[in-house]
């Protein structure tokens, strides 16, 4: 029978739940939940469960015990700011929040802590601002408090671009709301005006209504419309007629003409049309801006920490310093699990390193005295000390970052369809209006009549549908992609994706899982031997041991954990122990060098019981996906830093005919540049630091979500679930969305082809103009909703 955990509300079998003697109604799935429940109860915060309702939350996260780094001077200098009142302030991201109740709980428990003065947690992006009195409480205690209730917090640097994005969003929001407010009220006045057209209205009342419309339309054109004025100005500066120019020229001409009507000329005013053009298009732009911001927020949430500090050893004493303070010949110590921040040479210790992020090789590399350490690689086994050969600025990792920055500034923007169309559209409409004006003037000699008809042509041409065609469809496409685990940083990338001709794939971590897995082995172990091996690997966190452990758990039932003695981890070699007088060993020995893959030997008393070979497994459905891409006429090329033999094997197994091996980061980037010179539109998918320069060069960069931070930062699309299926989905959805964008543009064109002749013939009255504007926008929006298929 399944019961709910009293804290997290997740359901589990009643038999595995932790129960309490004092209160049998309580059920807990783990010690973490139990601990947090009692903490909340003791602090009088159990109303949290009322606010939580029936929602579930995640069980408490594993705590990071190394909190002293939060109190270090270098940390404070980088992340902590001082408010005007002399208190300390920091921006944090809170991990583990699922709902409003979680936010309430975090705010409440922090406010209850002595010394904390202000806590403001943003529901949408989980960013928290904390202000505290540095004399009363250290930051490490604040983080510890958050962790005690089952969440985690890490600092983040609010970049200048982010502050700008927040300000831009606020700015757009206010301008949009002003335009919407004015539109609603102008429409009410317009009802009166149009009714008056049919039933008759005295001139002075009509003047009053016009005056009201003028007062409402003016802030819309000059305040809300300032966005379009700026966009049109920058476009003209670069000699481009863009959508903004189209929108603002139409709205301004209408406004000026209506001013003439207001001040006494005969005819109808069109203030409502001018306002509606601005409002509709601004709503479309606002939706794009919030889409962009939410993409940035999601990325901040998944970003893991880049190394910002290093431990140096001076005369035997360890000290933590920031990366910029590292000098050549300093001795740096890195523990297992840490990333090397600068290049150097090992002086003491032996360990295995994961270099896949830099070199592309999935197999672990042993480093010992005299071997080179590359910045950005991860130490897996044991503590190592190495002498610095390059300071941070000149280290491999930073060099790659510099190359990326250069590539990014020269990246070309593929113009979107709507902008291309708007050039011709504007010129055509203006030409038709001028021709109509002269045509009618010559025909009946009446200047005013000719002017009205010319203006009507411009109004009815309504750029709304044209301007909305792309943003609405792109946004629906982007949200559909997001549900499939694909984060498009900007909606405009959908069009570029749909136009792509070539896909360049990295191998390790993109086509393959990037993790070593035990190859299926015919040798069947006896249950006792399996138990011994299981107990040996269970005591290690080394990736190879973990892979062997998973293999045993899948293949053998009823494994028993035995008590081993003298368990000893031999760095870069393996593990040894004794069991009932027998010497047990698991790891690699000298003969294994003949194998091309990583090998794990299990011996008892020097007799080999079994040898496992570990390979980097290919992701599910990889072959089908490559076949699909080939059917869609997308050229697929594999580029890897790994050797020719391994590359050939992997390419053959997934059906890729063209591949390049032994490529360093610069080679990959140059290869993409060459493809682009042949007019190919290139999409690059990768995850490691060695992919980052190529990603920066490609027309669209796709990074795997669990990849290197640099790759994610430089990419246009992030694959959150790391699956290749997502690559297939992105092609399918992008192409479908692009088809609908073109349909929308087609709809707006056909619409204009019908209504412009009506205007030329003089049949357009303000009512028709206003209705046509709304109808065309509705058609485009309605058509866009058909994009998503379940």
């Amino acid at each position: 029978m399944e019961v709910k955990c009293t804290h997290c509300h997740l359901e589990f079998d009643e038999k595995v739940m932790i129960k309490e003697e004092s209160d049998p109604s309580l059920n807990f799935c783990c010690n973490g939940c139990q601990g947090v429940y009692h903490l909340l109860k003791d602090d009088g915060l159990d109303s949290f469960y009322d606010k939580l309702g029936n929602n579930t939350i995640a069980p408490p996260l594993k705590q990071d015990t190394d909190l002293h780094k939060f109190d270090l001077e270098t940390f404070e200098k980088r992340y902590v700011k001082i408010t005007d009142d002399g208190f300390k302030k920091i921006d944090l991201i809170i991990e583990g929040i699922h709902c409003a109740a979680c936010v309430w709980l975090n705010e409440k428990i922090l406010y209850q802590t002595d010394g904390i003065l202000e806590v403001n947690i943003n529901f949408t992006n989980y960013k928290a601002k904390v202000v505290w009195d540095g004399d009363k409480i250290p930051l490490s205690k604040i983080i510890s408090k958050i962790q005690s209730i089952g969440y985690n917090a890490y600092p983040y640097d609010q970049t200048v671009s982010e502050k700008k994005a927040t300000k831009e969003k606020q700015d757009y929001f206010i301008k949009m709301m002003v335009a919407v407010f004015a539109s609603i009220n102008i429409m009410m006045l317009a009802v009166a005006k149009y009714t008056g057209l049919f039933t008759g209205m005295s001139a002075d009342i009509l003047d009053t209504v016009h005056m009201g419309e003028f007062i409402l339309a003016t802030p819309v054109l000059f305040y809300s419309g300032s966005i379009f004025f700026k966009g049109a100005y920058y476009g003209l500066k670069n000699k481009i007629i863009n959508m903004d120019f189209l929108v603002i020229s139409g709205a301004s001409l209408i406004y000026i003409y209506s001013l003439f009507i207001l001040f006494g000329a005969n005819g109808h005013s069109y203030f409502d049309s001018a306002t509606m053009i601005i409002t509709f298009v601004l709503v479309g732009k606002y939706l794009e801006v919030i889409g962009k911001k939410s993409a940035v927020d999601t990325l901040d949430k998944i970003k893991s920490q880049l190394p910002t500090e290093a431990t140096i050893v001076i005369d035997g004493i360890k000290k933590v310093i920031s990366l910029e303070e590292i000098n050549i010949d300093d001795i740096i110590e890195i523990k297992n699990g840490e990333k090397a921040s600068v290049d150097g040479i090992v002086i003491s210790g032996t360990s295995s390193f994961d270099e896949s992020s830099i070199s592309g090789e999935a197999h672990l590399v042993t480093k010992t005295n005299g071997d080179k350490i590359i910045s950005g690689t991860i130490n897996l086994d044991a503590v190592i000390r190495y002498k610095v050969t390059q300071d941070y600025e000149h280290s491999t990792l930073n060099n790659i970052v510099t190359i990326i920055e250069d590539s990014l500034s020269s990246k070309s923007d593929i113009e979107n369809q709507a902008n291309e169309m708007s050039k011709y559209f504007s010129i055509s409409i203006l030409s038709i209006a001028i021709i109509s004006f002269f045509g009618w003037y010559i025909y009946d000699g009446c200047f005013e009549n000719a002017l009205v008809i010319a203006i009507s042509v411009i109004i009815i041409a309504c750029p709304c549908a044209l301007a909305l065609a792309t943003p609405i469809a792109s946004l629906i496409g982007v949200s559909w992609l997001a549900k499939k685990g694909l984060l498009f940083k900007e909606a405009k990338y959908i069009e570029t994706f749909a136009k792509a001709t070539t896909l360049v794939l990295d191998k390790t971590g993109t086509i393959t899982k990037g993790k070593l897995k035990v190859k299926e082995n015919c040798t069947k172990l006896e249950q006792n031997d399996a138990n011994i091996l299981y107990s040996l690997v269970d005591s290690s966190t080394h990736p190879v041991s973990v892979s062997v452990k998973h293999y045993l758990e899948n293949k053998y039932k009823e494994l028993v954990h035995l008590e081993l003695d003298d368990v000893n981890q031999i760095p870069a070699i393996g593990m040894s122990a004794t069991y009932k007088g027998m010497i047990v060993f698991g790891g690699k020995n000298k003969e294994n060098n003949n194998y091309e893959n990583t090998v794990y030997n299990f011996t008892i008393n020097d007799k080999t019981i079994v040898t496992f070979e570990l390979v980097d497994e290919i992701k599910e459905n990889a072959k089908d996906i490559i076949t699909y891409l080939h059917n869609e006429n997308i050229k697929v090329i594999m580029c890897t830093g790994d050797n020719e033999k391994v590359a050939e094997k992997v390419a053959a197994s997934v059906g890729i005919t063209e591949f390049k091996a032994n490529m360093n980061p610069i080679d990959k980037s140059n290869f993409i540049a060459k493809l682009q010179q042949n007019d190919e539109i290139v999409i690059m998918a990768g995850d490691g630091v060695n992919d980052a320069p190529a990603l920066a060069k490609a027309d669209i960069a796709m990074a795997m979500g669990n990849g290197a931070d640099i790759s994610i930062a430089v990419s246009d699309v992030v694959v959150l679930n790391n699956s290749l299926e997502a690559v297939k989905n992105s092609f399918y959805i992008s192409k479908r969305t692009y088809r609908f964008i073109r349909q929308n543009l087609g709809i707006s064109l056909v619409y204009n082809l019908i209504t412009i002749p009506l205007a030329i013939m003089g049949y357009v009255i303000p009512l028709i103009a206003a209705l046509s504007m709304s109808l065309s926008s509705l058609l485009v929006v309605g058509n866009s909703f058909r994009i998503k298929k379940d």
Partner: protein, 74 residues
């Protein structure tokens, strides 16, 4: 007759713009930046929560006062 309509129109617009002005003030203060918090605000309206909010403000003002006294002394 039309002067009444003019008066009504101007009165209505003035009121409308006053409300719009208040909205813009609130938006510039950042009250609308967090859409979800605004919509989920119902959860934060109990008497306890409101009392807490007042206590927090008092706590903050006291802390500022104390730090000002400290800096005057030094």
């Amino acid at each position: 007759m039309s002067s009444i309509y003019t008066f009504m129109l101007m009165g209505g617009l003035t009121l409308g713009f006053a409300i719009l002005g208040m909205f813009i003030w609130g938006a510039k203060q950042g009250q609308f930046d967090d859409g979800d918090k605004m919509m989920g605000g119902l959860l934060f309206d109990s008497q306890d929560d409101l009392n807490d909010a007042i206590n927090r403000e008092n706590k903050r003002e006291e802390a500022i006062k104390k730090s000002k006294e400290k800096s005057n002394e030094s």
